[in-house]
Symmetry: none
Subunit: 224 residues, 2 copies
DNA sequence: CGCGAGCGTGAGGAAAGCGTGAGGATGCCG
DNA sequence: CGGCATCCTCACGCTTTCCTCACGCTCGCG
């Protein structure tokens, strides 16, 4: 998560940089509006932290300029507490407005709230594909060569679990616990049966599976 | 734009309702947490305005409950100014936190900022079509081969929910929560009945549905 | 070359889930 | 008060799914 800080107060920037870096953010900083715009264009930050009281270029103008081409959330940090200033900044395109002085944990929480909302829009790992099969984890739908494939609930849950860990080995215990809520390792007859049916529905040659692989003595693996 | 206000102060609710209605919002209100959850399930608000200090159910619990199934932005309005309260609410899933007393124009600006950001994510199609049936989600009207089809309220809400997620599997829990606001998984007699009636009205052959499909053991799916 | 362990797959019965007709309960409106 | 639309309950028969059982196959190993 990359963060652009635009503020002309070196001490505040220093404090922010240390705290934010400690919380896993990558931080870049600019001391005035013009530099902030240039840096945003170059570094593509995920979130912008923008001070309103910078020299040479009004904060609202900076917001307008940024909003001209980027959609990342903008949090305004300002000493002005009047509602007119807040309204102006928010309507210019800011997503949040925090007044100085502020508690660091509140700023961090607001950062989390914004990144939480913008994250799913950007990187939706909602579906995975292997061979001519696509698995849509949100719609709970499976298609093969464009045609919808019908799965029973147990088949689906089994495939879903494998698809959520593509490439990883999934042990039999894990699948049993996931599908039947039991830790019984006694008989694994179910697994063999349902894996067989999945392969019949999804593999070109069920006898020689290319993606739903067996790891003898361990479990199963979905390779994409 | 529909707004849900959850607050136990009748005077504040009244003031908010008047101001927000004057700015073009459709307003529904609930006096406590449980009612807010039920109303949210029923009314599909675009934004939720949530007071933290309500009786019977903690505001944070309400946020968790809402976040379990809906993604609309939540603005917390609270008299508590401590950063710990803010962090807790934001991390529970709230999108913004405004402290009382607040300026109405600031709240309006924050509403605009949130709706601006969530609008493109949520905006689905205004109407969808399958077979010889057209579902107009804005006008709440259904036509088949050009002729208007009359649906009862429950039938409509069921179809609407399916139509808003075309191709996706909709679980029975989801529909029950949507139509009856309950988490009862006990008996699903309603669903079977209303689906039967929908098919009679919309499918060429109700016995062999082509679009309103059953996924045994899971739920229903509308394929276009 | 025989053998046992692990795996794949077909068949079939039991159980759960589903569709639908009939009809009572409820609320609305003239 | 009576007609009407809607919601919901109940019961029955049918379909799908689940799971057991049995058998054949592959592969590593002595």
């Amino acid at each position: 998560m990359k963060l652009l800080i635009a503020d002309d107060d070196p001490q505040l920037v220093r404090a922010l940089r240390i705290t934010l870096a400690a919380h896993g953010y990558e931080v870049v900083a600019a001391p005035d509006g013009a530099a902030a715009i240039a840096l945003a264009a170059q570094a593509h930050p995920d979130i912008v932290l923008l001070d309103l009281g910078m020299p040479h270029l009004d904060g609202v103008q900076v917001i307008h300029a940024l909003r001209g081409w980027m959609t990342a959330p903008i949090i305004v940090v300002s000493g002005r507490t009047g509602s007119a200033d807040k309204v102006e900044a928010l309507d210019a395109g800011a997503d949040d407005y925090v007044t100085k002085p502020f508690q660091m944990d509140e700023l961090l929480a607001r950062l989390r709230a914004l990144s939480r909302r913008s994250a799913p829009a950007e990187s939706g790992e909602a579906s995975i594909a292997f061979g001519d099969v696509t698995v849509d984890l949100v719609a709970k739908a499976v298609s093969r060569a464009g045609a919808h494939v019908h799965l029973t609930p147990t088949e689906w849950r089994m495939l879903e679990h494998l698809a959520r860990h593509p490439g990883a080995l999934v042990t039999r215990q894990e699948l049993l616990r996931e599908l039947w809520g039991t830790d019984q390792v006694s008989d694994t007859g179910y697994l063999r049966l349902y894996m067989s049916q999945l392969r019949k529905k999804l593999e070109a040659d069920p006898a020689a599976p290319a993606h739903l692989l067996t790891e003898q003595g361990m479990g199963y693996r979905l390779v994409v």
